[in-house]
């Protein structure tokens, strides 16, 4: 038997971080679902199991819901079982009670009760739907232990944190639930990256949703041995399939000269299509010369134009001071020196202190950079 295990679609997840392209960002998750549907058909699975958090919240728009249901309709005749998670728990007036669900095909089952159902002939499914956002109860606790004479395939589907993960225990799930209850497979959701622990697996979210996720963007193809004697069955065969498009990349780099800048550019170019890239770059720039600084500015401008989203932060660690002797820089050199000394933590004179107001080091750095920028633009020989 082949099933496609997916979870944490987080449809309707807000994408405000990509600014004016938020709508595009939201739509991307639907495209991932579309790819998942296509994959299910291609892999000829018998069942699609979605283990919770299919919707990011209950306020998802009607159009999005109907579009998602339209995609699920396309899965027919494959059986589809959908589990409410902690983001979209079964509550009155929640996303699961919308009118749109009344029209869905019979191949789709919303797992709204903790009771055994025969999802396919000879396949018993033990759903553990969530009815609230937080709880310290194990939602799988109700699953009965396999009877000796029960030779069916027994599948569990639940949303929560395996207690082996040692994360904050919202809906903790006993790590040996599958063994304890004689489940052939326990399909889990909640963890946003692929995690396979014996028969208990997380497919992770199918489209990355944050910078700090590990192994996102996959669904799991699970093949189960239907040997009549449960004891002689092979363990499930689990295969990862990528359906996600977006990549959230975070780079923390130190830049000292033009070579470093070029290296950074090369590294970014290996991250794939910029259009799919959400990029966070944190730079530590120290003693950059004008050429390097200009190259860095250019790189930022290019990325700003090309990637889906860019967060660009530069920590200026130092600039060479202008020499008071060279080029008669006059007041400019005075200002630069003052800023440099203040950045270095020197205490300002009372007169200066009044002038600075609540300016912090960042602002002082920025002011010094501005000075250098303006000086560079006017071709003033910089130290």
């Amino acid at each position: 038997m082949r099933l496609l295990h997916t979870a944490d679609w987080q449809l309707g997840l807000r994408a405000a971080q990509v600014g004016e392209r938020a709508a595009e960002g939201r739509a991307e998750r639907l495209r991932a679902l579309e790819r998942t549907v296509a994959l299910a058909h291609r892999l000829e699975v018998d069942l699609v199991l979605a283990a919770g958090d299919l919707f990011d919240h209950h306020e998802v728009s009607e159009s999005l819901l109907r579009e998602a249901l339209g995609l699920l309709e396309r899965l027919a005749p494959i059986r589809v079982a959908l589990l409410p998670g902690n983001h979209d728990p079964l509550v009155e007036g929640g996303v699961w009670s919308r009118r749109a669900w009344r029209d869905v095909g019979s191949h789709i089952a919303v797992l709204d009760r903790a009771e055994e159902i025969e999802i396919l002939p000879g396949v018993a499914l033990y759903p553990c739907p969530l009815r609230q956002k937080r709880s310290v109860q194990d939602p799988t606790a109700w699953i009965p232990v396999r009877r000796k004479d029960d030779r069916r395939l027994r599948l569990g589907v639940a949303h929560g944190a395996l207690d082996s993960l040692q994360v904050e225990s919202n809906f903790p799930i006993a790590r040996d639930r599958a063994e304890l209850c004689g489940l052939d497979y326990l399909a889990l959701g909640d963890w946003h990256g692929v995690l396979i622990q014996d028969r208990s697996c997380y497919p992770g979210t199918f489209e990355q949703s944050a910078f700090d996720e590990r192994l996102p963007g996959y669904v799991l193809l699970v093949e189960l041995d239907q040997e009549s004697d449960p004891k002689r069955r092979q363990p499930p065969r689990v295969e990862q399939h990528r359906v996600g498009r977006l990549r959230w990349q975070q780079l923390e780099v130190e830049v000292r000269d033009l070579t470093d800048v070029e290296r950074l550019r090369a590294e970014i170019s290996t991250l794939g299509s910029p259009a799919d890239l959400l990029l966070r770059v944190w730079l530590r720039a120290e003693g950059l010369d004008e050429t390097a600084r200009r190259a860095l500015d250019r790189l930022e401008e290019e990325l700003e134009r090309s990637v889906l989203f860019l967060e660009w932060r530069v920590d200026q660690l130092g600039l060479q001071a202008w020499s008071p002797e060279d080029g008669g820089l006059g007041v400019l050199a005075d200002v630069d020196r003052t800023l440099a000394s203040l950045v270095a933590g020197e205490k300002p004179s009372p007169e200066l202190e009044a002038l600075l107001g609540d300016a912090d080091v960042e602002l002082l750095r920025e002011a010094r950079l501005s000075l250098r920028r303006l000086a560079a633009r006017r071709e003033v020989p910089a130290g």
Binding site: R98, G330, V331
Partner: protein, 927 residues
């Protein structure tokens, strides 16, 4: 820059060319007042700063008095490493030339305006127009202290002075590139902020902040809407719990209802028992009621029998009484009848007869009087008739016209007269005179005026003198002829009337008419009397038809009268008995009236008697009727009593008798009491086992209804909240919130950058300002130090120093004796002048560190006392070591030891200037 030589021509007192040469150190220009000392400095100033083309009024005053000559000036200068020659002429053929010394000879470098500009630049002069003014003189503003110059600038010394000093101190004077950066910093600052540091309208920062505000507001509004949806969901949770509770309560109520229904299963049985008891009681009640009714009826029957008996007795008694009364009444009626029949009626008859007689008597009397009157009238009428016939005869004889004819004739005569007069007035007058007189035949005859002898021709006429002539005359107007004809006709008619009455003229006719009227009056009187005598209207000699009728009527009247007399006399012969003759009529009348009165009294008595009889009769008949009715009532009452008695006996039959009935009644009442007790037991049973249960059931049903209502309310609320949630979902609030948040994020990120950059720009600008200020202060410092040293020395340590602002303008002096500084204005004029001079000398000394500059003091030390002047000279000597100093003075004595070149300027200005060689000065000497 220093000046080596100055030549003047056509310049105020210097009509002819004059040449002055100056030493590079100290020079004294000595001369009395108005000798032309200041003219030298004026020429110097105009040569360096004025445009040669200037036609300023001041320049006009430069021409020698009364001349139209163009003032000329020539200068030899040394600036930097070069020597220059300047040649300028003003007003007349103005020109300007600048020569530069190259390889020992002067070459023309610039001419005209260009030469002017280059010269101005030498001392940093600022503007072409009005360039000779102190504030436009560049360095010379401070270094040259001329007559009429203000001692200090209003705000600041010229830019050239600042730049000069700064450059010397290697402090500022930015290169153009640095200037450009400062400009860029200022521009970046100005992109966001105004000069006063406020946010500039329309700046990116302002726009972004406004955008952020707007987006944040909108986002907050959308989020609130989302929150409402979440709140609806929360409410739904509560509503679900409420629905569950209600459903639970409803279940319990249903169970209770079921239990009560089970209890009510016995209800029909209990109700039947109760109904049975009720029916038995009802039956007993009906029976008791029958007995009670019977008793009642029997009582009523007994009562009515008694009543009937009483009525019968009463009727009998009444009958008796009525009978007696009727009899009495009958008797009374009969008495009355007898009385009027026997007594009153004959009396009345007799009285009436007597009255009749008396009336007949009176009538006879009256008839007889009428008869004699009628006969007398007949006699009189005969007489009057004879008189009338006589008068009528007279009138016939008189033959007078009647009134109408008389009137007509009068009118005719009047008309004839009027016409005749008109004809006479209008007629043609013809007068015929013939010689000899001959008879004239005139046809027709014409009237002739007796006076004039003229013929009056009123119609066609012929005058004929036979055998001679015949003249036909006629009037031109036809009406004349008509009038004439009419007058003639009237006169003819009058004549005929006169002939008819046989009188001569109209007067006689009138007389006759008057007599006729007298006769008519007499006849009228007769007729009047006739009528009085009973005649008819017309009375004449022959009786008229009317008269005949009247006579006949009179005869008939007499006949009737006689007939009535006869009848009366026949009916009452006694009335005409002679015996009663002499009865006066009035006595008879009185007798009649008395009799009538008596008759009326008798008739009244008779009527009363009759009425009494009739009343008695009516009463009798009434009593009789009453009697009959009373008898009937008595009979009826007897019969009713008998019937009732029979009925009573019949009703009582089942009970035997009345006591039997009473016993039966007591039994029925006892039975009733027992049955009522039993019914109470059944009713209690019904109340407890049925009614109470039913009430509980109704209450439970009501409760169920309430719960159902509650459920419906909750369901409606749930449906409402769900609908609202669906509605909100359809609006894609979440997507809009996300989009807004996205846009807000973009704005905020950009705002962060712009804000940081703007803050940096502001900080940078502040720092630039700060350092520029500091530099300005650094510029002030050496100047102040030098002035302080000199001021202390000159004033004998009275003042320790001078405070300057950053523009090098003195603010106050620091006296040695006082704690605080003193404002400059509080100094004496002499001291003030010394302070100003020292400041200018200090500026000159500093500016001349690299290049010697010219300092001019035009008679500015006159107010210094001897000791201060002496010390000032020491300062001047120090200054002169690095500067060229020109001092104008009237008195050279105080400066004698300074080793200055002396240039004397005489009042008459005839000779060349005389320079005094001062020992020790290399350049000093006579020119």
């Amino acid at each position: 820059m220093i000046v080596e030589e100055l030549r003047l021509r056509h310049w105020r007192g210097y009509r002819d060319q004059r040449t002055f040469r100056f030493a590079p150190g100290l020079n004294l220009v000595v001369g009395p007042n108005e000798a032309g000392k200041s003219t030298i400095f004026e020429a110097l100033s105009r040569a360096l700063f004025d445009r040669h083309t200037s036609r300023a009024a001041e320049l006009e005053r430069v021409r020698p008095l009364g001349s139209s000559l163009g003032p000329e000036v020539q200068l030899v200068l040394r600036a930097g490493d070069c020597r220059y020659r300047v040649v300028k002429r003003f007003l007349e053929s103005p020109s300007s030339q600048l020569f530069v010394e190259r390889a020992g000879s002067f070459e023309l470098d610039h001419e005209g305006d260009r030469a002017d500009a280059e010269l101005r630049r030498l001392l940093g002069g600022e503007a072409a127009r009005g360039a000779a003014r102190p504030d436009q003189r560049g360095l010379a503003q401070a270094l040259w202290y001329l007559q009429r110059d203000d001692s200090l600038p209003a705000r600041a010394w010229s830019q050239a002075l600042h730049e000069g000093l700064a450059g010397l101190m290697k402090l500022s004077l930015q290169t153009p590139e640095q200037e450009s950066v400062l400009q860029a910093i200022a521009e970046e600052h100005a992109e966001t902020f105004t000069r006063t540091g406020r946010l500039r309208k329309g700046s990116e920062l302002g726009v972004l902040r406004a955008d952020r505000e707007r987006l944040a507001l909108e986002l907050s509004a959308r989020q609130e809407e989302l929150e409402r949806t979440r709140a609806h969901r929360e409410e739904l949770g509560g509503l679900a719990a409420r629905a569950e509770d209600t459903a639970l309560g409803r279940g319990e109520a249903l169970e209770r209802l079921e239990r009560l229904d089970r209890q009510l299963e016995r209800a029909p049985e209990v109700e039947a028992r109760h109904r049975g008891a009720l029916e038995v009681l009802g039956e007993a009640e009906r029976r008791a009621s029958g007995v009670r009714t019977l008793r009642e009826r029997l009582r009523r029957l007994e009562h009515r029998i008694a009543e009937a008996e009483v009525a019968r007795v009463s009727a009998v008694e009444e009958e008796q009484r009525l009978r007696t009364a009727a009899r009495d009444l009958r008797r009374a009626a009969e008495t009355h009848a007898r009385r009027w029949e026997e007594e009153l009626a004959p009396k009345v008859q007799a009285a009436r007869s007597q009255i009749e007689d008396l009336r007949a008597r009176l009538r006879v009397e009256q008839l007889e009087r009428e008869e004699s009157s009628l006969l007398a009238k007949r006699e009189r009428r005969s007489q009057l008739q004879a008189e009338a016939a006589a008068v009528e005869e007279q009138m016939r004889e008189l033959a007078a016209p009647d009134a109408d004819e008389s009137e007509r004739l009068d009118a005719l005569a009047e008309r004839a007269r009027a016409l005749t007069q008109r004809v006479r007035a209008a007629a043609v007058r013809v007068k015929v005179e013939l010689e000899p007189a001959t008879d004239i035949e005139i046809s027709p005859e014409l009237q002739r005026d007796p006076e004039s002898g003229e013929y009056l021709v009123a119609g066609p006429s012929r005058f004929r003198v036979p055998g001679v002539v015949e003249i036909a005359v006629r009037a031109a107007d036809e009406s004349l002829e008509a009038w004439h004809r009419e007058a003639s006709a009237a006169e003819a008619e009058i004549r005929l009337a006169l002939e008819r009455h046989d009188v001569e003229d109209l007067a006689a006719l009138a007389e006759r008419r008057r007599e006729a009227r007298l006769l008519e009056a007499r006849l009228a009187a007769i007729r009047s009397r006739w009528l009085e005598a009973g005649g008819s209207v017309v009375a004449g000699s022959s009786p008229s038809a009317d008269q005949l009728d009247a006579d006949e009527r009179e005869a008939r009247l007499l006949a009737d009268l006689h007939a009535e007399l006869r009848e009366l006399r026949a009916r009452a012969p006694q009335a005409v008995l002679p015996g009663i003759e002499g009865w006066a009529e009035h006595r008879t009348q009185e007798q009649i009236r008395a009799l009538e009165e008596r008759t009326r009294a008798l008739e009244r008595s008779l009527r009363e008697a009759r009425e009494a009889e009739q009343a008695a009769d009516r009463s009798y008949r009434q009593r009789h009727d009453d009697l009959l009715r009373s008898g009937q009532r008595a009979a009826g009452a007897s019969a009713e009593a008998a019937t009732l008695g029979a009925a009573l006996a019949e009703e009582l039959e089942p009970y035997g008798d009345l006591p039997g009935l009473e016993a039966a009644h007591a039994e029925v009442e006892r039975e009733l009491g027992r049955l009522r007790g039993e019914l109470r037991v059944r009713a209690d049973e019904l109340e407890q086992e049925v009614a109470q249960v039913r009430r509980a059931r109704a209450s439970t049903e009501a409760e169920l209804r309430v719960l159902d209502g509650e459920l419906r309310t909750v369901e409606a609320a749930r449906a409402d909240r769900l609908a609202r949630i669906e509605e909100a979902a359809a609006l894609d609030l979440d997507g809009r919130v996300d989009d807004l948040a996205g846009r807000l994020g973009v704005v905020e990120r950009r705002l962060e950058v712009v804000e940081r950059r703007a803050s940096a720009a502001r900080l940078l600008q502040r720092l630039v300002d700060h350092h520029q200020d500091r530099r300005a202060r650094e510029l002030v410092k050496p100047v102040a130090e030098l002035v302080d040293r000199w001021l202390g020395h000159v004033t004998g340590r009275r003042y320790q120093g001078l405070s300057l602002d950053d523009k090098l303008v003195p603010l106050e002096v620091r006296p040695a004796r006082y704690q605080g500084p003193l404002p400059l204005e509080s100094l004496s004029y002499g001291t003030y002048e010394q302070v100003v001079v020292l400041l200018r000398l200090a500026l000159a000394a500093l500016l001349s560190r690299e290049e010697r500059h010219l300092v001019i003091l035009d008679d500015r030390l006159v107010n210094a006392d001897a000791s201060r002047l002496e010390r000032l000279c020491e300062v001047l000597a120090e200054v002169a070591s690095s500067c060229q100093v020109l001092i104008a003075t009237c008195d050279e004595a105080p400066f004698r030891n300074l080793g200055a070149r002396v240039i004397r300027v005489a009042g008459d200005e005839t000779a060349e200037d005389v320079g005094a060689l001062v020992a020790g000065h290399p350049d000093a000497g006579l020119v």
